[in-house]
Amino acid sequence: METKNNNKLGWLFASPYLIYGFVFFLGPLIWSLYLAFTNWDLIAPNYDFVGFSNFIKAFKNPAVQSSFWVTYKFMMVFVPLVTAASLAVAMIVQGLPKLKSVFLIGFFLPYLSSGVVSSLIVKGLLSYNSPVNAFLRDTFGIKINWLGTPFTALMIVALIIAWKFAGYYALILTSGLESIDKEVYEAAAIDGVSRRQRFWTITLPLLYPAIYTTLILSFGVTFGIFTEVYQLTGGGPNYATNTWQMEIYNQAFKNLQAGYASAIAILAAIVTFISIFVIKKLLEMWGKRNGWV
């Protein structure tokens, strides 16, 4: 009887968050599912039910198609970059004799900075008449249209986001490094294992749980890229940086096609869940194959 009362009390204490979740997550999700089959324009009091035409239109839209592929392009650039950078930061900081916390916080600060601000700074740096480009032109005769070229535009955006997240992921990896038993390294040293071998055969395997976490997180980030793209490239040039979120924003708030935007959002969600699921399974298989799990 007391257990039953405790359960009720538990549910009661949990109810604020449950209500919050229902109101702000489940409600909008259901509403979005409904909207995806309408032609509502965010303002009009009336709208029509249009069946699956929004989805059909989305599949045919070159902008939506580009969103699909651009996400994976960002993934291929961003994930290796941020993983290598965060691992490097974690290893360097871990090796410091003093002030580890100070340096970690320093590397973490980009994560707290506004994407808008950092994007605008980069935009200024890459301007045609910026010191960087003026130097390249005058000294080497190199003329690069950084944000107007598909390849470099993609790279720039990926670099900014990698810079932003590297410190954050380094925190996770640092905690993973801290959890590795020092005696393992001591035993390895006795056996004459080199530093490089120690990294690949001890550090990396034992760090797998933390790396797994940062990899999953970084793959997820690529499905939510918006701010930097919005500020720097607007999805261009030629849709080269047109992400899911950028396309959803354009359709919903520029073209006022809320129903169509909802359909795209649902497609984005489906692609995201499937992709993350597959990636997660691949990572787990990789870990098992190497005996790390």
Partner: protein
């Protein structure tokens, strides 16, 4: 103890709910004691806000029965987005300014705006402000007027006069061939300078076409409409010629469509679109730029075979709308306020002085009220003279999507040299016609 905790939690939740309910009651203070209060959202910039606040206060002394609550629109992520969410959330103001005709078309499509010509006092406003001719081009395809024009910024092109003189020209080019001649001579003398340096040429964002493509197209077509009543009615020849100019400039290596900062001001580019609001910015940031010394203003160039005395241009027009969601008495109060504002030309002079944006009226360059101000500001006089030749933006609810196609399918690839003008035009036309179905 458990019961007490449970009761405390319930009490907390109840208080929160009551607080939420209580906040709604403030919305019902629209009319009290015979005074009608209207909400007026202004543009989010100090000069316009100050202008409307001062007029509102003055009007309230004339008509104490109407109270005007002036507040600036939020512009994050954009003023349009805030208006949309306000309408969708049921908290739209009575009226707002700074509404472009394109955005108004979107709102009209959703039945969010009042057709102003159906309101009492509309004819008085038009007559009192002397804008019978100006207002004609503002009419929507359903023959209603949804936007009361405030300003008509006839966009002009600026030319670096100091550099033109070095090339042997005393006045800016008027035709495409003259412009290309300038490009050739410029490249010989200054290999690192461009006729047209503008990052936006490579940007597909819809609104940017107003300040490159449409300025030129309106001139080349002598004001031929682009979209009318849901149909593509553009002048093919003029459109292809417009793209052709961009393509030819690119071929002469005189067009730079990259991310660049202040190209005209620094002399990297010698040709650019300029709105009257730029003059204040220059006065602060680039005081060395002097009208008719460093730079001059001109109407858009036209193709060689287009013979017109005054080329048309794009009008960056903004106006006032009244929202259909507002109560009838508030709508009527808003019209009364507008009638009072525009019954006196001095109010428009005040606007002109504060914002540099030409009031949308037929007699701007002939009315004595404005003479002294225009004589003191010759650059603004140039804009005032161009007002009658300014064409407002298209009034299609899908203008954003349609204008994006102009960039994506035509302007952007042409300036990059990826396709020829005719192909670009046809691709754009196909995309637009498909979207209009």
């Amino acid at each position: 103890m458990k019961k007490k905790l449970a009761m405390l939690l319930i009490f907390t939740v109840a208080i929160s709910m009551l607080a939420a309910c209580g906040s709604k009651s403030t919305d019902n203070k629209g009319t009290a004691e015979g005074v009608t209060a209207i909400e007026f959202w202004t543009a989010n910039n100090p000069p316009q806000q100050a202008y409307w606040e001062s007029l509102a206060k003055e009007y309230e002394t004339v008509n104490p029965k109407i109270k005007i609550n002036v507040s600036p629109m939020k512009e994050t992520p954009s003023s349009e987005a805030n208006i949309q969410s306000a309408i969708a959330g049921g908290s739209a103001p009575t009226l707002s300014e700074n509404i472009s005709r394109g955005f108004a078309a979107q709102l009209t499509n959703s039945k969010a705006l009042v057709p102003l010509n159906t309101m009492a006092g509309w004819d008085d406003i038009v007559a009192g402000r002397n804008m019978t001719n100006t207002i004609e081009s503002w009419k929507f395809s359903d023959d209603n007027q949804y936007v009361l024009p405030i300003s008509s910024n006839a966009m002009l092109f600026g030319w670096r006069l100091d550099i033109l003189k070095e090339l042997g020209y005393n006045e800016p080019p008027k035709t495409y061939s003259e412009m290309l001649d300038v490009a050739k001579k410029l490249k010989v003398k200054y290999p690192d300078k461009y006729v047209w340096a503008k990052a936006d040429l490579a940007d597909p964002a819809a609104w940017k076409r107003w300040f490159d493509f449409f300025m030129l197209y309106n001139a080349a077509s002598d004001g031929n409409k682009f979209i009318e009543g849901g149909k593509f009615v553009a002048d093919d020849k003029a459109g292809i010629a417009t793209l052709g100019l961009m393509d030819n400039l690119r071929k002469e290596k005189s067009l730079l469509a990259e991310n660049i900062t202040d190209p005209f001001e620094t002399g990297v580019g010698i040709f650019t679109d300029i709105g009257p609001w730029t003059l204040n910015y220059w006065a602060e940031k680039f005081p060395e730029l002097k009208y008719n010394e460093t730079y001059t203003l001109a109407a858009p160039p036209v193709p060689d075979d287009v013979k017109v005395d005054h080329p048309k241009t794009f009008a960056d027009t903004k106006g006032i709308v009244i929202y259909a969601s507002a109560p009838k008495e508030k709508q009527e109060a808003a019209m009364e306020f507008m009638k009072w504002v525009y019954s006196d030309a001095k109010h428009d002079l005040q606007w002109f002085e504060k914002t540099n944006m030409p009031p949308a009226r037929d007699d701007l360059s002939t009315n004595d009220v404005f003479k002294a101000f225009l004589d003191e500001n010759p650059a603004l006089k140039k804009y005032a003279e161009a007002v009658p030749y300014a064409v407002p933006p298209m009034d299609n609810a899908k203008f954003n999507e349609l204008q994006t196609f102009i960039g994506q399918e035509a302007v952007n690839p042409v300036v990059r040299g990826q396709i020829d003008p005719t192909t670009g035009w046809n691709n754009m036309k196909k995309a637009i016609e498909e979207a209009l179905k």
